[in-house]
Symmetry: C2
Subunit: 276 residues, 2 copies
């Protein structure tokens, strides 16, 4: 099989920074917790667990030690609860995610009704919700009716969404009617680069693989985009999940990976695929 | 012929105010000029001409007397020239058009690159251009490339455009890429009401008439919208222009009129159409 790897794929600076922060803390402390998976990649989370990182779902499960705030951030009330319990905080929130929170806070202070576009179940979006008095989440067109018709709206977007999604939601909001819109482009340029590389590549190959966690928003977006241009697109976590039957009759394969997918997962996949 | 008149049509408050301002000035003064037609309706302009209003294209043609600023406004440099010549100014600019100019000025002061969406040849749009250091006119999708890809854009729209146009242009701008957008809804609610009534009506009739000046932006927009839903739509200035052949075989006609079309034009048209 001829295998082409996307020009831009794999770890982004935000993920690299979160992992190195975790490794640094783990090298000096024993009681280290992450509130939810530090990044959306099972293999990486398992590797860090072996170094001692305990991933918990709720602050109630932590009684002492250090809490690592994961790359997707945490809502202000979670931070307050951690502080109230007297726990030490190490913040590994991606700087771009942090920026979305700060912008939401500022828009709220400036009298805008804050709107965040994105997946309501994603921790990044959930954390933004806590940053203003009232935040409306717009996941898709069906949410538009939740907005006032004559509002002064301050709009941000989940960092890992695509420019196409951002402008489609914006058009839907403006069609609904508004008094004023202030829209800050909070999309991650690294995510956009990965999207562009993936779309370009998937058009040229017989089969396309998108590697990354099932919960990873940016990986899911890559898969969604590739599927549009190449129906033979598969979102997998690693080589073990690959259905070898799908490869039959294919001569060229494309491989891309989300921002939370480590290089060794990509390398192993490419090597096995080439040998197939 | 059964004739139905649109629920909202004809003179808007801005046009009414411009005409009554003109009449008031003309009742007390002799030397009264309008820089371009006071409203985009030939019949009204001719009637005011009989009362003494002289319509000129250039300030150079005026040496003394009073200059009436028409409903669509005038660019700041035109106002300066009029003042420099020592002429008296009476401002009949529509308050909503004036608001667009003020917003453009404020956006410019706040560090935004000003963008106005609309017809580059319309006097309202031309006047806005003079209100900021640099203004980009976006008439349609082909103009989007004129914008920077990473700009901080302050956006207004010609008052007589439709919400559909406004959101379509906004989507095109956001798809192009931006750093920040501040969009103020400058659409005229009276124009929107006329658009909604016209679209609703044109769907129910065999033939649709849109009455108003050929230069009138809001009338042209009404005709454009109606044509989408009823290809048998005709934009006419008055009954004389009606091609009676087009009426053959039709049993129900709809009539609407732009914001600068006087009631007597509509009444005469409806009366003659009913009798046909």
């Amino acid at each position: 099989m001829k295998v082409i790897v996307a020009a831009n794929c794999g770890f982004c600076p935000g993920v690299k920074s979160a992992i190195s922060t975790a490794e640094e803390v783990l090298s000096g402390e024993h009681n280290v917790y992450s509130l939810g998976p530090i990044i959306h990649n099972r293999d990486v989370v398992e590797r860090l667990a072996k170094s001692g990182l305990k991933t918990v779902d709720d602050i109630a499960e932590i009684n002492s030690g250090t809490v690592l705030i994961r790359s997707h951030g945490a809502a202000p009330d979670s931070i307050s609860k951690i502080k109230q319990k007297g726990l030490k905080i190490v913040d590994a929130t991606c700087v771009l995610v942090k920026r979305v929170q700060q912008i939401a806070r500022q828009l709220d202070q400036d009298g805008y009704e804050v709107v965040v576009m994105g997946d309501r179940n994603h921790p990044e979006v959930k954390a933004v919700v806590g940053c203003a008095k009232h935040v409306t989440i717009i996941a898709d067109e069906s949410d538009i009716d939740k907005l006032p018709k004559n509002g002064k709206l301050g709009i941000v977007c989940q960092t890992t969404q695509s420019p196409e999604y951002f402008s489609r939601m914006l058009a839907a909001i403006s069609e609904r009617g508004f008094r004023e819109l202030k829209v800050i482009n909070t999309l991650c340029k690294e995510a956009i680069k990965r999207q562009e590389s993936a779309v370009e590549l998937c058009k040229k190959v017989d089969i396309m693989f998108v590697l990354g966690g099932m919960e990873s928003a940016n990986t899911r977006k890559l898969a969604e985009l590739c599927k549009k241009y190449n129906p033979e697109t598969f979102h997998l976590q690693n080589w073990n999940e690959c259905d070898k039957m799908a490869l039959s009759g294919k001569t060229t394969a494309g491989v891309t990976a989300g921002a939370s997918t480590p290089q060794w997962i990509i390398a192993e996949f490419v090597e096995k695929l080439k040998a197939f």
